[in-house]
Amino acid sequence: MSVVSFSKEKIMQTSEEAVKLVSAQPVVAVVTPLSTTATAAAPLLQKRGAWAATAKRAFEWLLPPVIGLMIFAAIWATVAALTQGLPGPVKTWQSAVELFSDPFYINNPNDMGIGWNILNSLKRVATGFGLAAIVGIPMGFVIGRYTFMSRMAAPIISLLKPVSPLAWLPIGLLVFKAANPAAIWVIFITAVWPMIINTAVGVSKVPQDYMNVAKVLNLSEWKVVTKILLPYVMPYMMTGVRLSIGAAWLVIVAAEMLTGGLGIGFWVWDEWNNLNVEHIIIAIFIVGIVGLLLEQLLVLIAKRYSYE
């Protein structure tokens, strides 16, 4: 899980660097002639050289991903050609175009467009995730700040953290007596551990120097939390948030397969029952793309709230 998110971040950074390089290049082209205008032709040549460099860099950044995707599509097409019933890239693309031509239709409560399914899944994730943040972040603060609390919580967290969140689904069904809250409950369980643990780690790592400042200035507990702990812990918290939203989005598909109702997970299951394999493959892409977007969104937020 963490490996996956790390590599995504790396890809993001490199593409961002590419953007930076592209945008920086024309500036260099304007500045350099001022210092080296020996002949009239020099600036033009340099400008052309700069553009060539830009194109080369863009090529270097763009080409490998494009090649990668093409290899992937080729393998897919080959396997599809050899396997009966598995649609190839072209057939899937055609099906996707058709599917996304009307994503928000409503025939009846059991037959709604793909857009509604995605939105419904996102709603469940957002609710479960939001509840996990409300519970997990303050708990992380308390556990990180007080050794007693940390020792108290340690056995419970170590015991429950490795359990697959789906194992909690029957408990959710039993307690809430409905499928939808049970699915949200599973998301809550998924998201709450990374949130608690990362916040607690952040709080426990606050440098002693800052705590000495707090002691010497005799700051109130409220000021310690708002002026020292919260800003320091924010990056740790955002890591927790990113890990948990990634995991929550992974788990929602499985949870919805079990609970049914409107959502991308059950949609996959439904299409399997209809033997509509194109739609299952499309769903895999949708889940991937939405997951990627969610994480990018959080990376942006994390950058916004990081003090560095």
């Binding site: 000495n212 002691k215 010497v216 005799n218 000021k223 002026k227 320091y232 560095e308």
Partner: protein, 269 residues
């Protein structure tokens, strides 16, 4: 105690022993520390590294409690940190997510927030930063300014609290020689104006002689104690360049050096 007695023994350290509990058993850092500091006096504590200089300072600050003995400030026992004893930390310890202004304001607000309005607090903050010559960098964050400027903010934060005692823990230790000299001169001027009592931990002999009224020289640890106390009777205001030629200065300087490198030489670790 009469007022005079309190002035003469403004900070009072009595029979202080400090023992730390470590994984390898107990470790006695300080033994039989006795020291009187007069009001308005500038004291330097000098000694080899690991001799417990900073422990003495942390005890006065109230960040540590002595294993035995008592510490008093202005006639009251020191039991915890308080705004009347401001600390300038070696590594400046500014909060990196706050601007210079906000860093100082945090301290000002804590000390004067009950009595004064926001505009008065902001005025105090500005005055403190102006005192250390940082009016232009108020809205900058600590990572946008140089090491010397950070240390100035640290000093401004401490002074803005209008402390009775200013505690400086190797305040210029991490700075280059030129920046250090500049800040030492400024600190001397500020201390002359404010008349506040100061205790500074240092391992810089010149710094100790230049700034102090008395230099407390500590023996090597473990169980370090005060070896000698040297009176620095050079007239104030002191000028760095004039002192270099001054035989009295040279004599005092060599006294400290003799203590550190003859009588209490530290074996190379």
């Amino acid at each position: 105690m009469t007022t005079n007695a309190i002035q003469d023994r403004y900070v009072l350290i009595e029979n202080v022993n400090m023992t730390f509990q470590t994984k390898k058993g107990s470790f006695q850092a300080l033994k039989d520390i006795n020291l009187n500091i007069h009001e308005g006096e500038f004291i330097s504590i000098i000694g080899h590294s690991g001799c417990g200089k900073s422990t003495v300072l942390n005890l006065i600050a109230g960040l540590l409690q002595p294993s035995e003995g008592y510490l008093f400030c202005a006639g009251r026992e020191i039991s915890k940190p308080g705004p009347e004893r401001a600390v300038v930390f070696q590594n400046h310890s500014l909060l990196p997510w706050l601007t210079c202004f906000e860093n100082v304001y945090l301290a000002v607000e804590r000390v004067f927030g009950d009595k004064e309005g926001a505009s008065q607090l902001a005025e105090r903050t500005r005055a403190a930063l102006e005192l250390v010559g940082l009016s232009h960098a108020m809205e900058k964050r600590p990572n946008e300014i140089s090491g010397g400027m950070k240390q100035r903010v640290g000093i401004a934060r401490a002074l803005a609290m209008e402390p009775k005692v200013l505690l400086l823990d190797e305040p210029f230790g991490a700075l280059d020689a030129l920046t250090r000299a500049g800040l030492q001169d400024e600190l001397m001027a500020i201390m002359a104006r404010s008349g506040c009592t100061a205790v500074m931990v240092t391992h810089d002999v010149d710094e100790a002689v230049l700034l102090s009224d008395r230099i407390v020289m500590m023996t090597n640890g473990p169980a370090a104690t005060i070896g000698e106390i040297l009176e620095v009777d050079l007239p104030r205001p002191r000028k760095r360049l004039e002192l270099v030629e001054d035989p009295a200065y040279t004599h005092l300087r060599s006294e400290v050096l003799k203590f550190l490198y003859e009588r209490h030489a530290k074996k190379a670790a």
